[in-house]
């Protein structure tokens, strides 16, 4: 399986009346984009804005972020938009250094206590989210009024309030399709142009014996090839599938700081790093994904057993594991660590922290085998953000009393993808 990521770096975005990519600038036909999204009939309004690093701007109500991609030989979002065929292979055009940030007002039957997500483009906040450093096209979506009608027959939550109402699901699907379609439209502006660089991803067998390393990816609130991944059993994926946008974020009701944003799957830190060391320091033996949504101990144990059996069958000597965050996922995560170590597979755990006091060390669950942990930061930590001149995405926070443009003192968990455990972040936590 050979994937080529052809990079067309974006240093600036201009809203104008035509679509083009030239000399690192992306020109976006704002009217055409608005009309295309409005034609889905799910939105009352669509607004575009460009935000750049260093600008005193705050973006709120973020639902997802995606990197523009276009694949001449197939779908750039395999399984989600169009067929899965060819996923992980061929050449993909990417607009590096930029992101589409999609914001939306809430709809009926949507849990709001974890929904807020903030990106600051200047000050301390800009360093606490990956999107403080990218040039962003913000797409602000206002759902059609029916979606916000609490008396709508589909507004009541399903059994599990975490999953939300059928209305939310319908709206969320349309929103993400609109976002992915726009991502393709933008990247297609590079058709026929020479990329600045091309990265090749291919797991060529190493010529010397090297330790075999697997990446064990805890899946939560994602779709894999368009299917909700939280009910699929543990499975093996080729790392190229992940880099080729097989995973799309489908739920926004989680702490903003540890969400698996679509953009971070497309630019997966752990997958990229294992590739970078492949053939030199290690033999990247593949990715195992498993759902972090089992609610009883026997199911968690069964999932852990299967994951470790897969790792053994792949001949793993070592494994990098990451933890999504939250309560339940900690249990299967630690069980996998324990069973892997018992099977002779050395592990390193990548995980966000919650609490951090002697009264509550912050582990929901741990095993004595968890001796090698990389922290992606403690998201309960209070941070102070300066006031911003401009706010995009909404007029009020969902669950904070503060004025969104003012100086803010809030827990790090509101900063979008600041502690996400896919590994590209530069935060840790240290004991004092």
């Amino acid at each position: 399986m050979r994937l080529e990521l052809a990079n067309y770096p974006v240093h600036d975005i201009q809203l104008t009346d035509h679509m083009a990519y030239a000399d690192g600038t992306l020109y976006v036909d704002a009217t055409a984009v608005r009309e295309h999204i409005l034609a889905r009939c799910d939105f009352d309004d669509v607004q575009l804005a460009v935000v750049r690093p260093g600008e005193e701007t705050r973006v709120i109500h973020i639902v997802d972020a995606v990197e523009p991609r276009w694949k001449p030989s197939g779908s750039a979002f395999p399984g989600y938009l169009g067929p899965r065929t060819g996923a992980g292979t061929g050449r993909v055009h990417r607009l590096g250094g930029m992101a589409i940030l999609t914001t939306s007002d809430a709809v009926a039957g949507e849990a709001l206590y974890w929904r807020e997500a903030i990106v600051d483009m200047a000050g301390l906040g800009a360093r606490l989210t990956p999107f403080g450093g990218t040039v962003n096209l913000v797409v602000q979506l206002q759902p059609r009024r029916e979606y916000q009608d609490e008396r709508h027959p589909e507004a009541a939550s399903l059994d599990d309030s975490m999953i939300g109402s059928p209305l939310l699901h319908r709206y969320g699907r349309s929103l993400r399709e609109a976002q992915c379609e726009l991502a393709i439209t933008l990247a297609r502006t590079t058709e026929g142009l020479r990329p600045v660089d091309v990265e090749v991803f291919e797991l060529t067998p190493p010529t010397t014996p090297l330790p075999r390393v697997v990446y064990i990816f805890q899946i939560a609130r994602l779709s894999v090839y368009g299917q909700r991944a939280d009910i699929t059993p543990p499975t093996i994926m080729h790392p190229n599938e992940i880099l080729d946008s097989a995973l799309v974020s489908v739920q926004a009701n989680a702490h903003a700081a540890h969400r698996y944003v679509t953009y971070l799957n497309q630019n997966h830190g752990i997958v990229r790093e294992l590739y970078a060391r492949h053939g030199r320091d290690l033999n990247f033996a593949g990715v195992i994904t498993y759902p972090a949504t089992m609610n009883d101990l026997n199911s968690k144990d069964a999932v852990a057993e299967t994951v470790v059996e897969l790792a053994r069958s792949m001949g793993a000597n070592g494994a990098v594991l990451n933890y999504y965050g939250g309560g339940h996922p900690a249990v299967e995560f630690m069980l996998i660590c324990q069973k892997a170590e018992q099977a002779g597979i050395k592990t390193v755990l990548v995980m966000p922290e919650a609490y951090g006091t002697p009264d509550d060390p912050g582990f929901v669950h741990y095993v004595q085998e968890a001796v090698a942990i990389v922290s992606t930061g403690r998201h309960t930590q209070s941070v102070q953000l300066p006031a911003m001149q401009r706010v995009i995405g909404g007029e009020h926070f969902f669950d904070l009393p503060d004025a969104p443009g003012g100086e803010l003192k809030l827990p790090l968990r509101y900063l979008y993808a600041g502690c996400t455990s896919t590994g590209s972040g530069r935060l840790t936590a240290r004991q004092y």
Binding site: P211, I270, E353, P358, D359, S375, G423, T428, Q431, Y432
Partner: protein, 349 residues
């Protein structure tokens, strides 16, 4: 900049006033260094001066900690210190608590930095580690020279207004608090580096150490139940009606003890449970379900057990911090030992 002014806190013994028989002596102070303060002054060098020594008897302090602290603070403030150094108190419990109380009060009320020396096993470490800077010492005064050297070294930094680095670098006991920090290397690179270190058998450093495992070894079984004195202890929150000691229904900070001498059983309506973590209906309908006095009284009468202690001990487990829970255990155990209790029936909810 003039010479940095240091005030040194000692107990009655190290201040040269007297041993245990003088532990009731109240707060006092004098100019200059006393006892271990002489060594401290030598270690501080020309940059700083021990301008005064302040002391208090261990019993005096622990019998009236609030007023003793206020008196000591008034004395300390009079010497206008840039820094207060307390102890080292090694493994002395009462002295350690006084040091902890003085240091935290000096920081909070005078806005002056403070630090102390304690053995890691000293119970005051658990009580003050979050707020105070504690230099680890040996258990006894045999380690005085090392402890004083370290106190002087870190003390000078604090007195100059410098910020201390991480505890493992500077050599003080961790506060146990974790803070998010920015680092130049992404998590994925750190993770793969750490895994390769493990695979090569090299040493590696976890970024998040597991909590210390606090397993309690089970004691040996009682050999003769018919001669044993038993007590009832519970985390169920069962208290006399009205909850006279106001034990919290969750995140408890206290425990209570109540007389059951002469009672054959717990009578519904006279007792109630205020526990925030379980459905208390059945416990209130028959409190013997969570405090089995009825059965133990029967065992006492028929000679299955020797004797039941005249009081039972209670707190609420729901959400209680391990710090408080450990303190409850220490305090309740002291009472049980003093009463000659051999074993405990411990009902948890």
């Amino acid at each position: 900049m003039g010479t940095l002014r240091i005030v040194h806190y000692l107990n009655q013994f190290f201040a040269g006033i007297g041993g245990e028989e003088q532990s009731g002596v109240g707060p006092g102070g004098r100019e200059g260094a006393v006892g271990p303060g002489v060594l401290l002054a030598h270690n501080l060098g020309p940059e700083a001066e021990v301008v005064a020594t302040v002391w208090c008897g261990d019993d005096y302090f622990n019998e009236q900690p609030a007023s003793a602290t206020t008196e000591l603070l008034a004395l300390i403030a009079g010497y206008q210190p840039d820094l207060v150094i307390a102890g080292p108190a090694f493994n002395a419990g009462r002295y350690g608590i006084a040091c902890g109380q003085v240091c935290t009060a000096v920081q909070e009320r005078l806005g002056v930095p403070a630090l102390m020396g304690l053995a890691p096993e000293n119970p005051a470490v658990e009580m003050y580690r979050q707020q105070a800077i504690i230099v680890p010492t040996s258990e006894s005064a045999r380690g005085m020279a090392t402890a004083i050297g370290k106190l002087a070294q870190l003390g000078l930094k604090l007195a100059r207004g410098e910020k201390l680095g991480a505890p493992e670098v500077e050599g003080y006991l961790p506060h146990g608090l974790r803070f998010t920090e920015e680092v130049p290397v992404p998590a994925a690179v750190r993770a793969v580096d750490m895994l390769l270190q493990r695979l090569r058998g090299e040493s590696f450093q976890t970024e998040w150490p597991l909590p210390a495992r606090d397993a309690v070894p089970p004691p040996a079984p009682l050999t003769d139940l018919s001669r044993a004195k038993l007590a009832l202890v519970t985390t169920s929150g069962l208290v006399p009606r009205g909850n006279p000691d106001r034990i919290e229904s969750t995140y408890a900070t206290k425990w209570g003890k109540y007389r059951i001498a002469g009672l054959d059983r717990m009578v519904a309506g006279e007792w109630e449970t205020r526990h925030g973590g379980y459905d208390t209906t059945n416990a209130n309908a028959d409190p013997n379900r969570i405090l089995p006095l009825d059965v133990l009284r029967e065992f006492e009468t028929t000679g299955v057990i020797g004797k039941l202690h005249d009081e039972y001990f209670v707190t609420v487990g729901s959400g209680a911090s391990t710090t408080n829970a450990k303190r409850f255990a220490r305090e309740i155990l002291a009472e049980l030992r003093a009463a000659g209790v051999d074993g405990v029936v411990f009902t948890v909810t």
